[in-house]
Chain length 235, copies 2
């Protein structure tokens, strides 16, 4: 069992008696290498992420590491003849509920039409590319989900994203802010695009920016799919 | 309990003894109206979707219908003083694992960087807008997830999407095709963008088009986050 210490702590009661490789944030490479080593030594090893392991999480790094090291990998259920070949690593990704689904559910239904997910972290991605994606998503009227909107060291990216999106979208566009969805200290807020940068946001926040048709109604926000126009729901 | 008959059938063993409102496809509006009517009459009623109810699914229509009918709605845990007001409808969206996570998990990790989800169904969305979104997402190097790629009546949209994306992306870009993820008759295939339109695709298929850095390796595909470049994983 390998994972970022915060996530390991969340599931502590479920992993009693298991061998645990717990490392701090930014130690992702070391964590994955240690897990692969365990698995190649014949143990079965799980790497734990929060949300879905395939969305801005650890699954990609596992494949990347295997490719770089030239490790042969296979899905768990393929070719039973290879089952005894200890050089082959069996890899299974178990999907979960990503922050974009948990957050959307708490807000109402902001993602029932086309959307783009963009991370504002420029630690591993050049800011120019992030800006290009914000511009493209805003211009083509995608609902936009922002991951990693802000950290202690990165505090200007969300304001810059707001500026870019405001060039294409009304300042009253509803924006949903969800922090720690379905965990302790969960926080939900619906604001307008115009004052999005003043909302309470940190590294555990996901930001949902509506498209041109998204609506704030009572304590919820949603994006219509187009049924009402087509089938004329009676009021 | 309300739902499209196919989904109701999938959970039949779990809903024994429940009152069931089952309707066919394209009867979404009638289904939601019937469910709201039940709930307003004092019963608790669940509307069932496959995957996540907030991603191209029924949650949006529930909010849309309440807004049009002027029904007052509240999250389940808010303001206990209003609990006895039978005019207020308590609405809770329970998130699930969307096809984009289930499919990505089976393919490896195609979604570990920024991605855009686009439905190719022009039943409720003008094709011009879909084309604009394909163009924008391809131009800004998003991984692209296509929902509703093809149906019996809509057979040219996937070919057109391929054409648009090929203007921006290499013809050998890996494309993952997943049908009926984690259900009976599951089908997984990794092809190239160039021959994406010849793959076996239907309404239960999700298509994952890699960005410029996505890689096909063994029987998997993944999108690197950038760790290898930054931290130099040793081969």
């Amino acid at each position: 069992m390998a994972g970022y210490s915060t996530y390991i702590d969340l599931i502590r009661p479920l992993i009693d008696g298991k061998e645990i490789i717990s490392t701090g944030m930014t130690k992702e490479v070391a964590r994955v290498e240690a897990a692969i080593e365990q698995a190649r030594a014949g143990k079965s090893c799980a790497i734990v992420s929060s949300g879905d392991p395939g969305i801005y999480a650890m699954a990609g790094l596992v494949f990347e590491t295997c490719k770089i090291k030239g490790i042969e990998i296979m899905p768990p259920d393929s070719d039973p003849r290879a089952a005894d070949d200890s050089n082959i690593l069996r890899l299974e990704v178990v999907p979960g509920i990503p922050a974009l689904c948990a957050g959307a559910a708490l807000l109402g239904a902001p993602l029932t039409h086309d959307f783009a997910a963009i991370s504002l972290s420029d630690l591993l991605t050049p800011w120019e590319l992030i800006e290009k994606r914000l511009e493209a998503a805003a211009g083509a009227d995608f609902v936009i989900v922002l991951y990693n909107p802000k950290s202690k060291k990165r505090n200007w990216q969300l304001g810059k994203a707001r500026e870019i999106i405001l060039r294409h979208r009304d300042k009253n566009t509803p924006v949903g802010i969800v922090s720690r969805a379905m965990r302790e200290e969960q926080h939900i807020e619906i604001v307008t695009l115009d004052n999005m940068h003043t909302a309470e946001v940190d590294m555990q926040t996901t930001v949902f920016i509506g498209n041109s048709t998204s609506i704030a109604y009572m304590d919820f926000m949603y994006t219509p799919r187009g049924y009402a126009k087509k089938y004329e729901i009676q009021s």
